[in-house]
Symmetry: C2
Subunit: 198 residues, 2 copies
């Protein structure tokens, strides 16, 4: 039982925050190739959830690699440390009661396992943004595939570095057979269902 | 001017989040000796703000050293990296529209300067929890001063490692001349004033 002392001597708890925000917090971890559409979908879903009154935050390369991970390289060791830090930030956000969308290639089973272990099985929803690599290369939003083909970039996921398909995804979004809006809708509906307070 | 494309292609912005939460986000950085009362005051203020409907999060040793900084030692280099990571997390929170209270000894001008630079002058409020070291040692909540005196701990701030008093504090709380409740009230009032949306 909580008593006055314990309440005043501890941080505001996740459950209290969830009740205040009227949402269940957890992490939706979007994995997929570069150019698969992860961040586009994450941003679309964030916007949609926000407009419905949810507190939600996307973590992606733009706000992580320029900040908490700005002293990390792209070596295997540093990629793992990057995922570890992202996961710890996502965990903090979850404890703050916030729905968190993580958008990172996270190419291997073992690297996603790091995230799952830190965040915790119950709060970790693995979402596979499944886009054929040909289509990713055709889109080439950031011009990275072109640089890979010209030899400017080495060790690129899906080309000369492996992408291991998720075996534990709770949701797979196939972006080649539907419009972006539909992919956003698909993830949005899943999150809404999982974010209801019971 | 924002157009539909730019709105849908960017994350939900801090200003939108602040309007949604009806608060201005920024960071209140509590510095002071071990045992000065930083975390007690931070927790009390968090509770009070939360009960008034503010979204607020305390970052302290308990949720940082066990998480994002759990691979750091207490060497000078690692202490700096610890403060850098905390500051980057606080910055993410600020961009999420959340009022953030950081409770860390952060003993030197230069280490607090790291935090100020990352978080940005406009969002950084340095708060000095000013408690005479004799009183900190008398309280000795964590039993650390005892360990210092028995020689079990070396390089302890205020004993055999310097604490540099803040020169840029916007608020100083003298815990030896008032009750905890009054210290909480003092910081709470300051934050309320700074967190009003204009």
């Amino acid at each position: 039982m909580e008593n006055i002392y314990s309440i005043f001597n501890q941080l505001v708890q996740r459950g209290e925050r969830e009740r205040f925000l009227n949402q269940k917090a957890s992490v939706f971890w979007l994995t997929g190739l570069s150019g698969s559409g992860k961040s586009t979908i994450a941003k679309g879903v964030e916007r949609k959830l926000f407009e419905k009154g949810f507190m939600v935050q996307v973590l992606d390369g733009d706000n992580i690699r320029t900040g908490i991970s700005n002293n990390l390289s792209f070596s295997i060791e540093d990629r793992q440390e990057n995922i570890r830090r992202i996961s710890e930030v996502a965990k903090l956000y979850t404890n703050s009661g916030i729905i968190t969308l993580c958008s990172f290639i996270s190419p291997t089973v073992s690297i996603r396992q790091i995230a799952r272990k830190i965040i915790g099985d119950l709060d970790f929803h693995e979402v596979y943004i499944n886009t054929p690599i040909d289509l990713c290369e055709e889109r080439d939003v950031k011009g990275l595939y072109k640089k890979v083909r010209s030899g400017e970039i080495k060790g690129f996921t899906g080309i000369d570095s492996p992408y291991e398909e998720p075996k534990r995804a709770v949701l797979t979004i196939k972006t080649d057979s539907q419009k972006v809006e539909d992919s956003v809708e698909q993830l949005y509906n899943y999150i809404i269902e999982k974010s209801k307070l019971i």
